[in-house]
Each structure stands twice: as C-alpha cells, then as structure tokens.
C-alpha cells in the first residue's frame, strides 16, 4: 500500500505543481530560517567538552589587595595565586595561562615571511585538561623550556601539514623547538577563554610554556588589572598584576569541596597577613555554569530565533491553507476512493505519505536555504564565521522539523477531507 500511496503522492504533485511548489517554498523558508538560527544558538550554547564539562572548573578569587575591590571575584589571578593552584595535588589536572601573540617563521626557511600567531602561554596541564588532540609528538613536560606545541593551522601554513616535531620555530626572534603538533581542533565555544569576546575564536596557533613566555616578555593579549605600574610581563611574578586564568579538573564532589577549602584557606592566610581586606569569596564554576554566567549566547540571536519560530508557525498556517484548498479541490477523488472501499485510515495514510514526501523535499531545500542564510550572515557579520556551522545533528533536526511541519500542515486539511460526506461528492 505504501508504494501505491507514494505513486498517488507523485501524481498529486504533478496535478498541482504550482501549489505544491508554494507549499514547499513556504515550509522550506520557515524551516531554513529557524535552522540557521538554531545553528548559531547551538554553536553558542553547545557544550564544548561534554565528556567532562562537569569536572572542569574555572577559578575566580577575591584577593584584590586594596580597599577598592572588584564587585565580583576576579576571573584573572596574580602569578602567586596561580602558582598556588598549580602546586595543589587535589586537581587531576590544572592549567594556568594567559593569551599572547608573536610572529612565527620556520628558522630553517629561506623565506622571511612571518605569521602573526596567537599564543597560549600555559602550564603543561593544559593539554590533558582540555583533551587537546595531538597529531604528532606530545605536550611539553615543564613550564619552562624552549619548546612549543603548535596547532594544525599554523603547521599547515609553515610546514605544509607535515610532521614538524623537532623543527625549530623563530618566534619574535627566539628559537623554540616544536615538541608537538595538534590535529585540527575546534572548540565551540572556546571554553577556556570566553572573556574579552573570545568565546568563538579559533583555538590557538602556539602553546608555549608559561615561564618561558613570561621570561621572554611575551605581552599579555587579554584583560589584565593591577594596582601597580605594569612595565612588562616578565616583572609580574611578584607584583599585584592580575592576568592569569586558571582551570582545574576535579574528579569528584569531595575533591571539589577539598579544593574550595584549599583556596579559601589560602585567601584567609593572605587576609590574616593583611594582604587584602576582603571577604573570602573564591568561586569554582564548571564549564557550562561558567559559559552561562559569561552570557556568551547573544541575546539578539535568541530573540531572532524566537521570531523565526513564530515565522515558522505562520509558514505552517500558510501551507495548511494552501493544502486545504488542494484537498478541497480533490473532494471528488476522496469521495470516489471512499466509495470504492478506502477506509478513513487508508485515506489518512495516503495524505500522510504525501505530506512526508513533501516534508523530505522541504527538508532538503530548507537545509540548502539554511546553508545559504548562514553564508549570507557571515558575509554581513564576519564575526559569526566560527559559529555559523551546520552540525550533523542540526541537519537531522532540520529534516525532522521539515517533516513535522509538513505533516502538521496537512493534519487539518486531512481531518476536513475525512469529514466529507461520501455520497455528496459523487453523482
């Protein structure tokens, strides 16, 4: 019966191509627009590291030294607090880092072309904590040493994607050896650094040992706060300069509580020593709580998504009224089929088969339209480039949405068609 229903659906499309084209277009635009918006929201609101997002915690501390404290605990720390975190053996892994930037070139290359590269100056725990995927080599083992790990993009630019472990990079005039190369690595959002509008930046080009970066004076390319004159990163170790972000991996609730006590005890010790006058208020925020607090999902995008849901409803109503007129004009055939022995259920299945076929076609068109909408969005708003991505689950959602809307559009017309008095349609 299914193949017969399929044949009837095709026949129906041939009979009224303009009407079905309009129905398809109406549903496709509605679903396409919503999918494009959902793609943005999904990238913004997605869990970037679902396997352990509840075990990774961002550390904020309240150790501002003077009597004009920040309203909230600071998300950036002084060097000495950061080192206190690294010293602790409570976390499974910890990472303390700051963002910087250098110009990079292959030291052996005859070309003098240098590539502007983002740097993550970090402790070694970063790689295990973030599950950074290595293509070649490993992370560096210590926070000091003339070694770096590079990302896939930079490796492609400088070494054409080959295994460059052992090669020497010239970074702002200094020579550092590559010990690891990452695979293409995408984190949406870039959870370890979502502040300063970086939530949807690409992962970094270079990962350098923290102490080395400080010693080499690689400047801070993110927010820093200080109560003293800051003349260079190399002088920050013993000064009240707040610039390091810290993440820890705590495997259990007990470890989380233990680490909270560890931080609070440390703050209390500082307070007792008169180094800050503030209440003890250190915060551990897991990945999703941290992303939520940072409001990385653009409220305008959310509002537009809501608007596109309403627009889709309008599209469904429109498609439904178009289909109603189609079914109305097919009253004779419905009556005839019923007279010849088709049950209401069989007619319903015929109508649903037609709307499922319609939904599948609408799904394909709507995904193409989504892709087009996202491309257009990127051309108008280049900042969306790393967010406007149609993930496989969204493609699936688009198809499901198209099917659901198509069947929904047909439900009322089908209900009406099944209420026709058979004898009234036949003479």
């Amino acid at each position: 019966m299914f193949s017969y229903n399929l044949k009837l659906a095709m026949h129906s499309f041939k009979r009224a191509p303009s009407l079905y084209f309009l129905v398809l277009l109406t549903l496709s635009i509605g679903v396409g627009l919503l999918c494009a918006n959902l793609a943005l929201v999904s990238s913004m609101a997605g869990d970037p590291i679902p396997e352990k997002s509840d075990k990774l915690f961002h550390v904020s501390m309240n150790t501002w030294p003077d009597d004009q404290p920040q309203a909230e605990p600071l998300h950036i720390l002084r060097y000495r607090e950061a080192m206190k975190i690294v010293e602790s053996d409570i976390p499974t892994h910890s990472a303390v880092f700051y963002a910087s930037g250098v110009y990079a070139r292959d030291s052996q290359s005859k070309s003098l072309q240098r590539f502007d590269s983002n740097v993550r100056a970090t402790t070694p725990g970063f790689f295990a904590l973030t599950k950074a995927p290595f293509a070649y080599g490993n992370g560096f083992a210590k926070s000091a040493g003339m070694e770096v790990v590079i990302g896939a993009v930079l490796n492609q630019k400088i070494f054409a994607g080959k295994n460059s472990v052992g090669e020497i990079l010239e970074l702002d005039g200094e020579l550092l050896t590559i010990v690891g190369v990452l695979k293409p690595w995408s984190l949406r959002p870039l959870f370890y650094h979502v502040t300063e509008g970086r939530a949807f930046n690409l992962t970094d080009d270079i990962y350098a040992p923290l102490e080395t970066a400080i010693d080499l004076g690689w400047s801070i390319h993110a927010r820093s706060s200080s109560t003293v004159s800051n003349t260079g990163v190399q002088f920050t170790r013993d000064r009240d300069v707040f610039y390091l972000q810290a993440w820890v991996e705590l495997a259990s609730k007990a470890k989380q509580q233990a680490f909270q006590r560890y931080l609070d005890n440390y703050s209390q010790t500082l307070k007792n020593a008169g180094e800050h006058p503030l209440d003890i208020m250190n915060e551990l925020r897991d990945v999703n709580t941290w992303l939520l607090e940072q409001k990385i999902v653009d409220q305008k995008v959310l509002a537009f998504t809501l608007a596109s849901v309403l627009f889709l409803c309008v599209c469904v109503f429109n498609a439904s009224s178009l289909l109603l007129s189609r079914f109305h004009s097919a009253k004779f055939e419905v009556g005839l089929r019923r007279a010849l022995g088709a049950s209401n259920k069989q007619m319903l299945m015929q109508g649903i088969t037609e709307s499922v076929v319609l939904g599948l076609i609408a799904g394909i068109i709507s995904l193409l339209l989504s892709w087009l909408f996202l491309k257009l969005s990127i051309s108008f708003l280049p900042d969306l480039a790393n967010i406007a991505v149609l993930k496989p689950k969204l493609l699936l959602l688009g198809m499901v949405l198209a099917l659901v809307t198509s069947v929904s559009s047909a439900l009322y017309p089908l209900y009406r068609a099944n209420r026709y008095t058979i004898s009234a349609e036949l003479k």
Binding site: E333, G341, S343, L426
Partner: protein, 252 residues
C-alpha cells in the same frame, strides 16, 4: 442479499428536518435485477446511498449479504463496500488522468491483492466489457458509453455480490444506453444482483422487478407492466446499430 426493515433517514438543519426515507422496507434476493424509479427528491438516491453504505441511517435494520451493518465502524463498512458492492454512477466518476487500467484497478488496491491478482482481475473485467484493448487509454479518449463500460468494469473487478447503479444511462444517447443496458442484463443473467435507479420507464420494465419510491417510501411494486417478448425485441440492438460507430468514439 439485501434486507431493509423500517429504515429511516432524516436530514436535519437548524430549521427543518427532511425524512428522505421513512420506514423503508425492502428485500432483494440474489440474482434479482431491481429497478428503482420515482420523482426527483423522492428518496431514490438516499436509498441507493444507504444501500451502498455511502450514507448512514437513523432507524431500522439493514442486512447486506447476511451482515447487519448497523453500528459497524468505518473500517468494517469500507471493507464491506469494497468486497460486496460495485458502484456504477451516472457520471461514470473515472479519474481523468489515470489510465483505464488504473481506474479499474483502484478498488482492488484497497483489497490487498498482489500485483498479479490485480492484473488478472482488471484484464478479466475489461475483457467482459469489451475494452481490453483500451487498457492504456485515458478516459477522455473514450466515448461516453465506453467510459460507462469502464465504470462497470471497475465495479465488476472486485467480483461484488451486488451492483448498485445510479442512472447508469442518464448521460448516454439511446444507442449507448442500450449497449450499457445489454451489458447489465448479461451480467444479471450470469448471476449478479443489480439494483438500478432510473427515470426511464422502458428500462424499468425490462428488469425482473421494479419499485417506485415516493416521499421516502415504496409506493407500488409494479408500476410498469413487464415487457412482452415482442417489446424486448424492439429494444434489442440490431446488427446494423452495432456496426454504427458513435461519433464520440475516438481511435488514438
């Protein structure tokens, strides 16, 4: 075959109620050819619709081939319609963009037959009405009489117990009307039970029984005297007429 006892059908709207059938009783035996006549609005079509399970009734009892249809759900009614009843309509009711084969095949699709069985039945039915060679034609490529024969083939394909015909010759000229009537008589002689609504007194006289419906009730069982053998001869199609090709027939 068909037994109706005190069947009533009332149509209601906000202001009036119309008794289309009132205490209507009728028994039709297997193999009968019954003509139903009566003035317009008398309830003939309502009777045919109720008999064909296309419409419900408000009171009374209706048994079709021994099955009481009262209270049956849509699925069961549809199955009964499909298996036991063949419809022939005045306007043929063929789907214009389906081939003759597909039109005849339509009721068989809802019976669940496999492809081979459906093909066999469609070909057999078309053979019976003399249109086997036109299976791939569209209805618009046939004359009115031929279209009605296709409709008869569609009604026959399911091998129903009873044929219900609503003015089957109403849209045909006299020659084609006689061809269709001859086909119906042949089917009746082969054992098919037929109930036919008609306005034509001659056709009513030709059949084994005729009834007249007035105001939703049977008024008289024998309004028209049965045809004498000599009358039947007059109505038969002559060889000369058979050779005349209707101007509506198109060879494609």
């Amino acid at each position: 075959m068909l037994i109706m006892n005190n069947v009533s059908r009332i149509y209601r709207n906000d202001t009036i109620q119309t008794h289309a059938l009132r205490d209507f009783s009728l028994e039709v035996n297997a193999g009968e050819f019954v003509a139903v006549t009566g003035p317009s609005g008398s309830g003939k079509s309502t009777f045919l619709n109720v008999a064909g399970l296309l419409d419900s009734f408000d009171q009374g009892e209706y048994k079709l081939d021994g099955i009481s249809v009262h209270g049956l759900k849509d699925d069961a009614l549809s199955r009964l319609r499909n298996e036991k009843i063949g419809f022939i309509f005045q306007s043929y009711n063929l789907i214009p963009d389906y081939s003759i084969f597909d039109n005849v095949d339509m009721p068989l699709r809802y019976r669940g037959f496999n492809t081979a069985e459906r093909k066999r039945r469609v070909e057999q039915a078309l053979e019976k009405v003399g249109l086997a060679s036109r299976a791939n034609y569209l209805p618009s490529q046939l004359s009115g009489g031929q279209q009605q024969r296709v409709a008869i083939a569609r009604a026959l394909a399911g091998e129903p117990k009873i044929l219900l015909a609503d003015e089957p010759t109403g849209n045909l000229d006299s020659l084609m009307a006689r061809q269709v009537m001859e086909l119906l008589h042949n089917l009746n002689q082969e054992g098919t039970t037929i109930i036919m609504v008609t306005h034509d007194p001659d056709q009513a006289r030709e059949v084994s029984r005729n009834i007249q419906i007035i105001d939703g009730q049977i008024s008289d069982f024998k309004i028209y005297a049965p045809l004498q053998p000599s009358d039947k001869d007059k109505n038969a199609i002559t060889d000369e007429e058979k050779s005349i090709k209707s101007p509506e027939v198109m060879d494609v």
